[in-house]
C-alpha cells in the first residue's frame, strides 16, 4: 500500500503536475491571478468583527450559517433543521451551498463572509479530491482564514452501543492551522518531494493554553500532550516544551506527555486513562479518528472548531460519507451532537440538553440505531424517533389545543 503510494507520488504526481500545469499554464496563471486579486481586494480577508459583535443575535434569536458540504452532509443537515424546528431552538439558518463542485474563489469568499457575519456555522464536510494536486482543501482554507486554531472532539461512550470499551471519556484538542497542514510541498528534483511541517511557539502556546483552560472550565483532571519529539526533536520538541511551560501555570491539573505511537496503542487498549489530550495537527487527526472509532465510528462524534472570533461545528471525524449518499442509512448522531454543542456555545443550554437527551433516549432506551452502530433503522426512522421524543417534551399544551 505504502509502496504503491510512493510510486503514485513519484511517477504520477510528477507527470500529472507537469502536464496539468504546463498544458493549462495560461489558464492556471489566469485563475491564480484572479484568485490572488480577489484575495487582495477581498473584504473578507481584511475584515473581522470583534468577538461578541460577530454573532447575529437579535431579540434572543441567532442566525447561523449552514454549509451543506458533500456526501451525506445536505441530507443530515436538513434533518438537523427539522429537529431544531420541533425543539423550538431559537436559531435561523442561512443556507450556503458549498461543496467540491462549487469551489471557485467566489464561492469560497461568499462562504467565508457568511461565517464572518454570523460568527457561527454548522457544516457538512467538503470533499477534497486528493488525486488532483491543484485542488486545495476547502475545509482547510476555511479553518485557516477564520483562524480556527483549536479543534475539539469529545469522545464519550454512548450507553447501549456495543463496542469494545464502554468507559471512554476523553476530549481531544488539536492544533488546527499549522503543522503538516500548511500545504507547503514541492518537488525539488524529479522524484524528490519535500513537505514542510511548521511548528511555531505562538500557536503552540495558544493551543496549550486553550487545552488547560478547557480542562479547568469543564472540571477535567489531566492534560496529556501527544508528540513525536524523539524523532522530530526540534519541531515536536518545541511543542512539548511549550506545553510543559504552560502546565506550570495550572498546578491543579495533572500533566503528562506521550509519544504518538504509544498513545495510539494506549488509546485502543486502555482508553480510560485519557482525559484531555493536547496535540499538533496530524496526530490530532489520527488520534481523534481512533477515539471516534472506539465509541462507534464517524457517525456519532461531534467536532468543534474554535477560534478567537468564530466557531464552526461539524461531525467529529470529518468524513463526507459519499458512499452513503442518498441511501438513507447515514447516522445523524454526530452532526446532532455538533449542533447541540453549537446551541451550548450560543447559550441555549436548555435546547441543547433537550436534543441531546432525546438522542440518548432513542439510541440507548428505544434502541433505534442506524446500521453503522449495529442497528437496522434508516436515517429517517432515527430522525422521526427523535422528533417523536422531542415533541411531547415541548408540546405540553397540544393536548388541550387540538386541531
Amino acid at each position: 500500500m505504502a509502496a504503491n503510494l510512493r510510486i503514485f507520488i513519484g511517477q504520477n504526481l510528477a507527470r500529472r503536475t507537469n502536464v496539468l500545469f504546463q498544458n493549462s499554464a495560461l489558464n492556471e496563471t489566469k485563475c491564480l491571478a484572479v484568485y490572488q486579486q480577489s484575495r487582495k481586494n477581498s473584504f473578507a480577508a481584511q475584515f473581522d468583527l470583534v468577538k461578541g459583535e460577530a454573532l447575529a443575535k437579535y431579540g434572543g434569536r441567532h442566525t447561523v450559517t449552514l454549509m451543506t458540504g458533500d456526501g451525506v452532509g445536505p441530507e443530515l443537515l436538513s434533518h438537523v433543521q427539522e429537529i431544531f424546528r420541533y425543539a423550538g431552538a431559537p436559531i435561523d439558518f442561512e443556507v450556503v451551498e458549498i461543496n467540491a463542485s462549487k469551489n471557485t474563489p467566489i464561492d469560497m469568499e461568499h462562504a467565508l463572509l457568511a461565517v464572518k457575519r454570523n460568527g457561527v456555522a454548522l457544516k457538512g464536510n467538503i470533499e477534497t479530491k486528493f488525486d488532483d494536486p491543484s485542488f486545495k482543501s476547502m475545509n482547510l482554507a476555511l479553518r485557516t482564514s477564520l483562524e480556527l486554531f483549536a479543534s475539539i472532539v469529545k469522545c464519550k461512550s454512548i450507553p447501549g452501543i456495543a463496542v469494545r470499551h464502554n468507559d471512554v471519556d476523553c476530549v481531544l484538542i488539536r492544533e488546527n492551522t499549522e503543522g503538516e497542514y500548511r500545504q507547503l510541498e514541492h518537488e525539488i528534483v524529479p522524484g524528490v518531494v519535500e513537505s514542510m511541517k511548521i511548528i511555531t511557539a505562538e500557536k503552540c502556546k495558544k493551543i496549550a493554553k486553550f487545552a488547560f483552560d478547557y480542562a479547568v472550565q469543564h472540571g477535567r483532571k489531566k492534560v496529556t500532550a501527544i508528540h513525536k519529539a524523539n524523532i522530530m526533536k526540534l519541531g515536536d520538541g518545541l511543542f512539548l516544551e511549550v506545553c510543559r511551560d504552560i502546565a506550570k501555570g495550572y498546578p491543579d491539573i495533572e500533566f503528562n506527555d506521550l509519544i504518538i505511537d504509544n498513545a495510539s496503542m494506549q488509546m485502543v487498549s486502555r482508553p480510560s486513562q485519557f482525559d484531555v489530550l493536547c496535540m499538533p495537527n496530524l496526530y490530532g487527526n489520527i488520534l481523534s479518528n481512533i477515539a471516534a472509532g472506539l465509541i462507534g465510528g464517524a457517525g456519532v462524534t461531534a467536532g468543534i472548531n474554535i477560534g478567537d472570533r468564530y466557531a464552526v461545528f461539524e461531525s467529529g471525524t470529518r468524513n463526507s460519507g459519499r458512499s452513503m449518499k442518498g441511501k438513507n442509512i447515514a447516522n445523524p448522531t454526530g452532526i446532532l451532537f455538533a449542533s447541540c454543542e453549537m446551541l451550548d456555545y450560543l447559550g441555549h443550554h436548555e435546547h441543547a440538553k433537550l436534543i441531546r437527551e432525546s438522542v440518548f433516549t432513542v439510541i440507548s432506551d428505544k434502541q433505534i440505531r442506524t446500521p453503522d452502530i449495529g442497528g437496522t433503522a434508516t436515517t429517517l426512522d432515527f430522525v422521526k424517533a427523535i422528533i417523536d421524543d422531542v415533541k411531547p417534551k415541548t408540546l405540553a399544551w397540544s393536548v388541550m389545543f387540538q386541531i
Binding site: F43, A44, F47, L49, E53, L55, A56, K57, Y58, G59, G60, R61, T63, L66, T68, P74, E75, S78, H79, Q81, E82, R85, Y86, A87, G88, P90, D92, F93, E94, V95, E109, H110, L113, K116, R117, N118, G326, K327, N328, E350, H351, L354, T378, L380, D381, K384, K393, T394, L395, A396, W397, S398, M400, F401, I403
Partner: protein, 392 residues
C-alpha cells in the same frame, strides 16, 4: 393535510425496498428543507407550519405594556383574540404611564419584566411635549435605553382589500433608536440660545448597519438603502454612511445604495416601489416610519418591532397613542394584532401566528368590517369579533 402526507411518505419509505424511491424522497427533503425555514417559498412555508410547534417550557410568558390612549382597549382585544385562538401565551401586564404617574409601575419594574420574559407587546406611552423640569428623556426612550433596544423595524406592507393611493407596497424601514437626536442632551448656553446635541457613534452605526443587512439576509431581501444627510452633516451622518458601506461589503449578494433624506421622502411619496430595506439614523427613521405608514393606511394598520440582542418588543409601527379616541371604541386594532402575530412568529409559534394573521387579513379583505380610519363605521369591538369569528 401536510401532516398526513408526511406520515404517508414515512410509511412509504418504511415499506418500500426500492432504493430509488428513498433517494428521491431524500433529495426532495434536501432540496426543500433549507428554504422552508428561511420562509422564501410560500408553499413550503405553509407545509412547515401546518403542525403546531412550541418550546420546552410549553406556555410562554410575555410582558404586556398597554400604554396610554387607546392602548388598553386594543390590548384587551388582542387578549380576546389570543384566547379564542388558543395561543399558549400568558401575559404579565405592567401599566406604565408618564401622564398618570400615580397608577404607574416603576421603570425598573417594567424593564425587569421585559428582561425576564425576553419578549414584549407594548402600546404607546404618551409623552408630554412641554418640559416641567426633571429628566429630559422620555419614558419610551428610557425603556429603550435600559433594554438597549437599538433597532426598530417597520415592515410597510399594503393590506390586500384596503385600497390606498399606493397598493402592493412591501418594504422595510430599519431605524437606529438609541442615539442621534434622541440623546436628550440639550442646554441653554446663554439665555435665548439652545444647543441640542446629536450623537453618532461608530459602534452603534456598525451595529444597526449589520442588523439591517442581517435582516435583509434572513428575509431574502435584495437591496439595502442607507438614508442620510451627509451632505450637510458631513461628519456625523458621514460616519453613519461609512459604517453602512463598510458592512455592506460583508454581504456581496445584497445591493447597497445611499439616498439623502429629503430626496428619500420625495421618492417615497412619488415612487415607493423602488425601496426594499432602508436603514437610517434615529430622527429620519421616525419621520420616514410615519410617512410610510401613511402610505399604506395610517398608524392603525402598520406593525413595528424593536430589537436588542436579547429582547424583542412588538408595538405599532407609527407610535401614536390616539388619546382623543379613548373610550370611544373607534380605534383600529389591526396594527397591534399584526404586531402580536410577529411576536408569535418570533417565539416560534408560527402556527398560531398564521392563524391570527389569516383571520385579520380575511376580515380586511372582505371589506365589511372597517373602522373609521379605513373608511368604515365599525367599532373596535366589532373588528375584534369579526377576527374571532374568522378564526378557523
Amino acid at each position: 393535510m401536510a401532516a398526513t402526507l408526511k406520515t404517508c411518505v414515512f410509511t412509504v419509505v418504511k415499506n418500500t425496498t426500492a432504493q430509488q424511491g428513498i433517494s428521491k424522497f431524500i433529495n426532495y427533503l434536501t432540496a426543500n428543507a433549507p428554504s422552508r425555514l428561511l420562509h422564501q417559498d410560500q408553499t413550503h412555508q405553509q407545509a412547515s407550519i401546518a403542525e403546531p410547534i412550541s418550546r420546552p417550557s410549553g406556555r410562554h410568558m410575555v410582558t404586556l405594556v398597554p400604554g396610554d390612549g387607546v392602548g388598553p382597549e386594543i390590548m384587551a382585544g388582542v387578549q380576546e383574540v389570543f384566547k379564542a385562538a388558543g395561543v399558549p401565551v400568558d401575559f404579565e401586564e405592567k401599566f406604565i404611564s408618564e401622564i398618570s404617574p400615580n397608577t404607574s409601575s416603576t421603570l425598573m419594574d417594567v424593564v425587569e419584566s421585559f428582561k425576564r420574559n425576553k419578549v414584549g407587546l407594548k402600546g404607546i406611552i404618551t409623552t408630554p411635549t412641554f418640559f416641567k423640569g426633571g429628566v429630559l428623556q422620555t419614558l419610551n426612550m428610557r425603556i429603550r435605553r435600559e433594554l438597549d433596544l437599538f433597532a426598530n423595524v417597520v415592515w410597510v406592507k399594503s393590506l390586500p382589500g384596503f385600497t390606498t393611493r399606493h397598493n402592493n407596497l412591501d418594504f422595510v424601514i430599519i431605524r437606529e433608536q438609541t442615539e442621534g437626536e434622541y440623546s436628550a442632551l440639550e442646554h441653554e448656553s446663554i439665555p435665548g440660545v439652545v444647543e441640542s446635541l446629536k450623537i453618532v457613534t461608530r459602534k452603534n452605526s456598525m451595529r444597526i448597519a449589520k442588523f439591517a443587512f442581517d435582516y435583509a439576509m434572513r428575509h431574502s431581501r435584495k437591496k439595502v438603502t442607507a438614508v442620510h444627510k451627509a451632505n450637510i452633516m458631513k461628519l456625523g451622518d458621514g460616519l453613519f454612511l461609512q459604517c453602512c458601506s463598510d458592512i455592506s461589503k460583508l454581504y456581496p449578494k445584497i445591493e447597497f445604495e445611499t439616498m439623502i433624506i429629503d430626496n428619500c421622502c420625495m421618492q417615497l411619496v412619488s415612487n415607493p416601489y423602488q425601496f426594499d430595506v432602508m436603514v437610517m439614523p434615529n430622527l429620519y427613521g421616525n419621520i420616514v416610519d410615519n410617512l410610510a405608514a401613511g402610505l399604506v393606511g395610517g398608524a392603525g394598520v402598520v406593525p413595528g418591532e424593536s430589537y436588542s440582542s436579547n429582547v424583542a418588543v412588538f408595538e405599532q409601527g407609527a407610535r401614536h397613542a390616539f388619546a382623543e379616541a379613548v373610550g370611544k371604541n373607534i380605534a383600529n386594532p389591526t396594527a397591534t394584532l399584526l404586531a402580536s402575530c410577529n411576536m408569535l412568529n418570533h417565539i416560534h409559534l408560527e402556527y398560531h401566528s398564521k392563524l391570527i394573521q389569516d383571520a385579520v387579513l380575511k376580515v380586511i379583505k372582505s371589506g365589511k368590517v372597517c373602522t373609521q380610519d379605513m373608511g368604515g363605521y365599525s367599532s373596535t369591538s366589532d373588528f375584534i369579533h369579526a377576527v374571532v369569528n374568522s378564526l378557523p
